[in-house]
């Protein structure tokens, strides 16, 4: 009792004497935070806290007085009263009054928190096992934010840093003095996104989009964590928000976009097995090792092993498919939204060659890119490209203009050898109006348009062309 009371008293004195920012270091109270809402919440918290302390002092005071004075060893004789309606009414009415007094400011703050209107920036926050993804809806910026604390620090093999477990590779960068709306959802299980300094905590639920908002007043780095149990590594998915000035934010947006396009260019570079292995190991540790374990042996019964597994040493297409599209109904996620083509190629290559798997096979980024080009997508993009680049001559219905532009319905070029078809679109036909489209359309568009022509208007050849085939046409083709 005494111990508890002295701890309590210590905390009360602390709360009284020091500005909260200072005693936040002691970690005994809620942070005041850096937003108007967080200050309202803090003040509600402190008010209700003091109300509770006052009630406790009165109630326990009476109780301890009674325990001391009304004890048999002091000769106390028991009284005989056992009812008093007046007293009962009084101690029913007083709590009701206190509660009403508390309910009013609480409701006011709550109503304010529920008003995300007039937001200037929308950020979609998506919870994944076990990382966060941030999409800046107005900027086309999108990235994942992973724990960056080294595994060795967690397993006590190296010194723990100051921000142990509260550090990530990519911060959520936002400007100060700007109303930011968060749209929260999840990809797998329920997560909850919490930053104490912003007083924002909202569940991220698959199939739902929740709203929250904040206006940060001070630049700084604000750290939080996932607060809904979301599986094995629930404790390892921190949230880090970096609030910067508006100018710095604009600069950050520009830089991040430039980096994103530079990264996209990497996909076109030719990768050696060694390069893929090096890159793949890093990706593996970041994205796969939590479940499949760093040694590839998985956790029996929960997460399958990759070492010598049919997936990792078997058919490469199946392996690519499971990484790209995931396995519905299991914890295996679709990585197509999480990793770039380069990263997926690298990690698949790594899995097929690490831990004695040694298939010797390298998977290229373009093979991964092909995965996303299924028939439906090729046909849809192909139709669009066709109408843009081909229909002027060959006509929207593919029938051409007799005598001027040949028909594409049921003719040799579209129903015959696919290589000749690709070649004529890529390189054109010298001496005719048929241009070389390699400089006008992207490899994806060419692949799509060829596929479209071979399957539209009742051609129904059934085959398709992948972008990587087109991309390498000039070098490797005829």
């Amino acid at each position: 009792m005494e111990i508890r009371k002295s701890i309590l008293r210590g905390s009360l004195l602390g709360a009284l004497a020091t500005p909260s920012a200072a005693f936040a270091d002691w970690g005994i109270n809620m942070p005041v935070g850096v937003t108007e809402i967080s200050r309202s919440v803090f003040s509600l918290h402190m008010t209700i806290f003091w109300v509770c302390v006052a009630i406790a002092v009165v109630v326990f005071g009476v109780m301890f007085y009674s325990m001391f004075h009304h004890r048999k060893s002091r000769g106390a004789k028991s009284a005989h009263f056992h009812e008093n309606t007046t007293v009962e009414v009084i101690w029913t009415v007083i709590p009701v009054a206190i509660l009403v007094a508390m309910a009013v400011p609480s409701a006011a703050t709550l109503i304010e928190m529920y008003d995300p209107s007039d937001a200037e920036i929308d950020v979609q926050v998506t919870g994944y096992q076990w990382k966060w993804k941030y999409d800046y809806l107005d900027e086309e910026i999108s990235f994942f934010s992973n724990l960056s604390t080294p595994r060795d620090a967690i397993y006590n093999a190296e010194q723990k840093g100051q921000n142990y477990l509260l550090e990530v590779d990519n911060h959520l960068v936002v400007p100060v003095d700007t109303k930011i709306r968060f749209l929260l959802t999840a990809n797998d299980v329920i997560h909850s996104w919490w930053v104490p300094d912003l007083a924002v905590k909202k569940d991220a639920i698959p199939g739902f989009i929740n709203e929250a908002w904040t206006i940060i007043e001070r630049p700084g780095i604000y750290r939080g964590q996932c607060t809904e149990l979301c599986g094995k590594d629930h404790g390892y998915m921190p949230v880090v928000v970096e609030a910067v000035s508006k100018q710095d934010y604009a600069a950050w947006v520009a830089k991040t976009k430039a980096e994103a396009s530079a990264k996209a260019d990497l996909a076109n570079k030719s990768w050696t097995l060694d390069e893929l292995m090096t890159e793949g190991e890093q990706v593996y540790l970041k994205a796969c090792a939590a479940c499949h374990q760093p040694n590839g042996e998985g956790l029996p019964g929960a997460f399958p092993a990759l070492k010598n597994s049919p997936i990792a040493v078997g058919d490469v297409a199946a392996h690519i498919d499971i990484v790209v599209n995931g396995k519905p109904g299991t914890a295996m996620q679709a990585y197509k939204d999480q990793l770039s083509a380069v990263e997926m190629a690298a990690v698949i290559t790594y899995e097929r060659n690490a831990w004695g798997n040694n298939t010797g096979e390298a998977v290229t980024p373009s093979q991964i890119a092909d995965m996303s080009w299924d028939m439906d997508r090729l046909m849809a993009v192909g139709e669009e490209a066709y109408l843009k680049a081909c229909a002027a001559c060959h006509q929207p219905n593919g029938q051409g203009i007799p005598g001027a532009f040949p028909s594409l319905v049921g003719t040799d070029i579209v129903k015959g050898d696919i290589a000749a078809h690709i070649d004529i679109v890529v390189n054109g036909k010298a001496g005719s109006a048929m241009q070389a489209f390699k400089d006008q359309l992207s490899p994806e568009e060419i692949a799509a348009v060829v596929t479209y022509e071979r399957n539209a208007w009742g051609n129904n050849v059934g085959d398709s062309v992948k972008p990587s085939t087109v991309a390498s046409w000039n070098g490797g083709g005829k």
Partner: protein, 533 residues
């Protein structure tokens, strides 16, 4: 002055009514005292098993970093600890106390449905045996928290979830049958003269608890059945990809879960309302208002469930409704606390072990209640939700709340059960070690929660280290001091000074009219209950 007119010669008139010999006594028994004892032993065993799991959790949390267990196993420990403590320790302990005491308190010879009583108990060891065996299955035991939110507990669950669901169904059947039995006993078998408003408060609180159980255990059965369908039969109740709704799970679960919270505390109110008047040597203050407060709490428990879900993104109107309704609960709960203090006021108090536990209950439960009031404030709850502040709150109401009340009850009625006076020094040693341990364990959790430590994490940031270390020390003190309790109970069964029928000076009620130990059959003819309440 309550009194009962007992005809002395009615006990053991028929020589064949003594307990059978050997193991079959326990297997086939329909005697409320035997079954009560089995419930209590079972609960004690589960309390120790669940406690060991808590110590694994606390040991891992002693320092930052992973030392003892992996995160996957840590989650299994938090899940199993919660399930076992709620369904295996607290609930069966209260049912055991009801079995022992309700018939004796109302002057009934036994429970109304003795064979069903036997079945209610014997389901439990199998249900928990199966639940514990999941620890050895491929993929491990349930690891999704005792609240088992979908889809973590469906699509993403280990295969053992099916066994968990079956175990929950069995526990539910056991609880429902136990509750029906208690209702039937109380409503039909009271001694002549014992009107409803003259029943001891423990009987009242159990009557209301039994109705809560009958109302909500089927809801729990429903929600786990929906999970089972999602996992094995292709439905999508909780799967957004199939048009289902993960939040629906939480609504259904907490519609069960919040009344469940009161199922675990109302009988405790009854126990404390029996013990405090005894040791204050003064009648309970405000009997009628205690009954009405209990009923109000039970009613309110059905309309506050979503305060467990303030962060799921409910509409504002829902948020406000559940905030106001939740705050209201403070009123009847406050009435109870005030009544207990008014009972103590100008009494003639002594502080034997049961009284110490009862007073600690009032103080520490009130602290838990006050933090509950803080949690009711929805905007502040956004900061408290799913942090150690919540862990501190519900452990304050469950450990020094429910568990202390059970210990108080055992110490209070143990002389009646065994016929031996209590070893007060061992009891007081147990009390003070538990009291100190429980506060060292759970008080610092308020601080780390406010400072931002989420619950259910195996590892934490460095600023939480000191208080976690303190909490772990407290947990081991609390855990190991329960061995004193076990030793004390066993010693009391084996030996001790002969206890009188009314072994506590101020004790009132029919149970004190029968000899100690209570004969195998009591009140084979109903006593005449004359006591004005």
């Amino acid at each position: 002055m309550s009194a009962a007119d007992i005809t002395a010669e009615h006990h053991d008139e028929h020589h064949d009514h003594g307990p059978a010999k050997g193991f079959t006594r326990w297997l086939y028994t329909t005697n409320h005292k035997d079954i009560g004892s089995m419930y209590l032993w079972f609960s004690l065993a589960m309390f120790l098993v669940g406690g060991c799991m808590a110590l694994v959790i606390r040991a891992e949390l002693f320092q930052p970093g992973l030392q003892l267990v992996e995160p996957g196993f840590f989650n299994q420990m938090t899940t199993m600890h919660g399930l076992i403590m709620v369904f295996g320790a607290v609930m069966p302990a209260f049912v055991g106390l009801a079995n022992w005491m309700v018939p004796m308190m109302i002057g009934a010879p036994d429970m109304a449905l003795p064979r069903m009583n036997n079945w209610s108990f014997w389901i439990l060891p199998f249900a928990f045996g199966m639940l514990l065996l999941t620890l050895f299955m491929d993929g491990g035991a349930p690891n999704f928290g005792w609240t088992f939110y979908a889809p973590l507990s469906t699509t993403y669950a280990p295969p053992s979830v099916t066994f968990f669901i079956f175990a929950v169904h069995m526990m539910g059947i056991s609880s429902i049958m136990g509750a029906i039995n208690i209702v039937a006993t109380i409503l039909n078998m009271r001694a002549p003269g014992m009107t409803l408003m003259k029943m001891p408060l423990f009987v009242w609180t159990w009557l209301i608890t039994a109705y809560l159980l009958i109302a909500v255990m089927p809801v729990l059965a429903g929600v786990v059945t929906m999970m089972l369908m999602d996992i094995h039969f292709g439905t999508s109740f909780f799967d957004a990809a199939g048009g289902g709704d993960p939040v629906l799970f939480q609504h259904v679960f907490w519609f069960f879960g919040h009344p469940e919270v009161y199922i675990m505390i109302l009988p405790a109110f009854g126990i404390v309302s029996a013990i405090i008047p005894t040791f204050a040597r003064k009648q309970l203050f405000g009997y009628a208002s205690m009954v009405y407060a209990t009923a109000s709490i039970a009613f309110l428990s059905f309309i506050v469930w979503a305060h467990h879900m303030f962060t799921v993104g409910m509409p504002l109107a829902g948020e406000l409704f559940f905030m106001f309704a939740t705050m209201l609960i403070a009123v009847p709960t406050g009435v109870k606390v005030f009544n207990w203090i008014a009972t103590m006021w100008r009494g003639s108090m002594t502080f034997e072990t049961p009284m110490l536990f009862a007073i600690a209950f009032v103080i520490l439960f009130t602290i838990g209640g006050l933090s509950g009031l803080m949690l009711a404030i929805a905007p502040a709850d956004f900061q408290y939700h799913d942090t150690y502040f919540v862990v501190a709150h519900f452990h304050y109401v469950l450990v020094p709340g429910a568990i202390f009340s059970i210990m108080a009850a055992v110490y209070y009625w143990l002389p009646k059960w065994t016929g031996h006076q209590l070893n007060e020094s061992a009891g007081k040693f147990h009390f003070w070690m538990s009291f100190i341990g429980v506060n060292i364990t759970f008080f610092p959790m308020h601080f780390i929660g406010l400072a931002g430590m989420p619950r259910r994490i195996p590892d934490y940031a460095l600023q939480f280290a000191d208080f976690n270390a303190i909490a772990t020390v407290g947990a081991f003190i609390f855990g190991f001091s329960q061995l004193i309790f076990v030793w004390n109970v066993i010693q009391n069964i084996r030996s001790g000074k002969k206890a009188e029928a009314r072994c506590w000076e101020g004790a009132e009620g029919l149970e004190w009219e029968v000899p100690s130990p209570a004969p195998y059959h009591t009140f084979t003819t109903p006593p005449k209950f004359e006591g004005a309440k």
